[in-house]
Amino acid sequence: MPYTININGVSHTVDVDGDTPLLWVLRDVLGMTGTKFGCGMALCGACTVHQDGTAIRSCIAPVDSVGKSAITTIEAVTKTPGGRKIHDAWLDLEVPQCGYCQSGQIMSATALLASNPRPTDKDIDDAMSGNVCRCGTYVRIRQAIKQAARSTAEKTKGG
């Protein structure tokens, strides 16, 4: 049956089975390929998107679970102020290598800072441990999250 879902502020109607993972609706039906497939079992985080601001794994989220919630993907997240800060820190520190996991990393990091503007190392571990990077960019991801958090703090301080 058709499902109408809200992706990046735009309404889309897709005619697929209700148990179709959101990941494949995004990638194959709607053609938004920034969200990546890595494992299909919520083990690697490459498919991370935001549902009403919370990071979820789209590879195990059936399309019929989306309802009226607002889904945000990598294609739009850097247009949000929080996403922009993460983007800028990622760019400044040259985080990506192959880059395949980075959509998911950026989505998780953005959700983390939105809920926790000054994360500790432990907070970063907890929020990011579900996102695998085989190139091993973890060192820079950690630095970049801290840099983005500092830029938020400085901006707040400076008014």
Partner: protein, 735 residues
Amino acid sequence: MITDRVGGTAPIAGAGRGLSRRAVLTAGAAAGGGLLIGFRLLPATNAVAAPEAEALAPNAFVRIEKNGRVTVISPSIEMGQGTYTSLSMLIAEELEVDLAQVSVEHAPPNDKLYANPALGFQVTGGSRSIRGFWKPLRAAGAAARSMLVSAAAGMWKVEPSSCRAAKGQVVHVPTGRKLSYSALAALAAKQPVPVNVALKDSKDFRLIGTPAKRIDTPAKLDGSAVFGIDVRLPGMKVATVTACPLIGGRVADVDDTKARAVRGVVQIVRLEKAVAVVADHMGAAKKGLAALSVKWEPGPGGLFSSAQLLEHMKVAATRSGAIGKKEGEAEGVIAAAPKRLEAVYELPFLAHATMEPMNCTVHVRKDSCEVWVGNQVLARAQAAAAEASGLPPEKVTVHNHFLGGGFGRRLEVDYVSQAVAIAKQLEFPLKVIWTREEDTQHDIYRPYYYDRLAAALDDKGLPTAFSHRIVGSSIVARWLPPLFKDDLDFDAIEGAAGVYAFPNVLVDYVREEPPPGLLTGWWRGVGTTHNAFMVEGFVDELAAAAGKDPVEYRRALLDKAPRTRGVLDLAAEKAAWKKPLPAGIGRGISVVFGFGTYVAQVAEVSVAKDGAVKVHRVVCAVDCGQTVNPDTIRAQMEGGIIFGLSATLYGEITIKDGRIEQANFDSYRPLRMEEAPAIEVHIVDSKEEPGGIGEPGTSTIAPAVVNAIFALTGKRLRKLPVDASELKAVQRSSN
């Protein structure tokens, strides 16, 4: 920046927007009238006449458009190692343009034009891109610059020697007149192509050796980078496959009734060894795959297990092998020595587990085959597609894309052959995507190694002889058969005698292959990574037997190896080797030469009560000669260490009843954020020839970790991955 032609195809608009690579190049030359150095496909009407073009065919690397845009045609593929940027820096340095002016296009498959000079064919691997192209790409840039200068001098009717190039312009020095490259490109194309243009002295480098922003980073931050898996074509369907899970086996029977009933499933395609479910989207394809019922027939090796393979290797290790290195009489000296050490070291089969699972998009038409893929050996991909489609190679077009990880897995073309075999049974373009489980269970694995090492020690504990017998399958014999000579796999013995000057040395190699169907292949560093673990662990044992400090012991053996000793000393100094550590932390060191690069690493570890190992900090010293992009060197060391740590602590592929036991990231475990150590990288300032950087960071870490575990616990681990059960209840002390 990268033009949207990198990778060949726009992510969503599909083939309609993307011209084929060959068409892009030809059209660019014909319509643009720009300067293209020696590109063989230039039409005869172009300024670079055909004979000269033929003669200059190896330098098909740079194009300057009439609008001044510089396009680098990268002979190496980008899989995260930063090569699009560092290769572009080589050209931009001599061409006298800034990197911001450069776009990158990927080279089409062509073993003649785009062979890596260090290897002789078109391949991205072996940490060879900078080493192979260090001179050719600077020469390509210099030739283009020289032609631009000649064109300007001709217009001004002055001597070329009175002109110089800088920042995308040619300046007539005495008068200060200037012409931009865009104004000169068409005229420069009519200049004869110079053969030998002097290259800059390293002291004059503007770009080389300075940190550069990576050209590919912006596209990797907003979802716009196009990996192979992201290709979309009009009318395309998506398939997922199950190949026979019994190693070497085949399809016996398929019941696809339920699979075909799944909404969105279009067709089931049966191959000899695999079944594919073709659907409107991957969600339906996966659902169809789950509903498929397939009976499998075992392979010729039967329902074998890892334990059986290990027994075969133990037997093989009693045979003498092909001699890889022989200096003096190591066997005799060891046999007669009053003090000797012997040990067996083992390494498991490993999967690559690239984040982007294997995939390939194919459109087979009656008289052509078009392939979209991420692959490290494009001409091989083209040949594989030709064979599978039954078409001649010239009818096969291959578009390369960003690789979501390579690590040697994409030096294979099995997934290309398979995708073409499926797609040729269909009327429409098809994207074949492997599930993670398929990717893990149908990898081409890093070989299992079972090595015997021995050494004789004098009364001071210094080695008087060293022997190393390597037992494992041969990657070279399968992958590059002409180079498998006299039963010797040159890669398997790479670094087998370590970095030291042993007075008597014997290295031999015994080839022992697993049953048919279980293929072994390249894996980040292979030979060097394997031998570094064996040798650096064993040398640490020698140091302990001699009662010496691991750093001092190694130093004493590195008298005549200043660069090796340099990185050893630098890592030790930066890690404050002599300073005591807090209780519960141990440190270990290792030093490796490989890929033209010297690396030493110090690892600091702790062991929990349950035996779990945590690596807290790694200090890495690297001497890779002249640096090109130092930030990329840091990144490759950081990433190489993390990649090596996954293998050190967790990586293991095992076989039971003829099947691979691991499937997804829960059973084939990668290192995660909370397990990642702090990493410091220290780069030696050097003007020596550049070395490779993609692999040596990985090669060095495993022995540093096991040596640290030994320092902390007294427990010597000679087999990976680290077995936590062996470390339960061991004594812990700080060193």
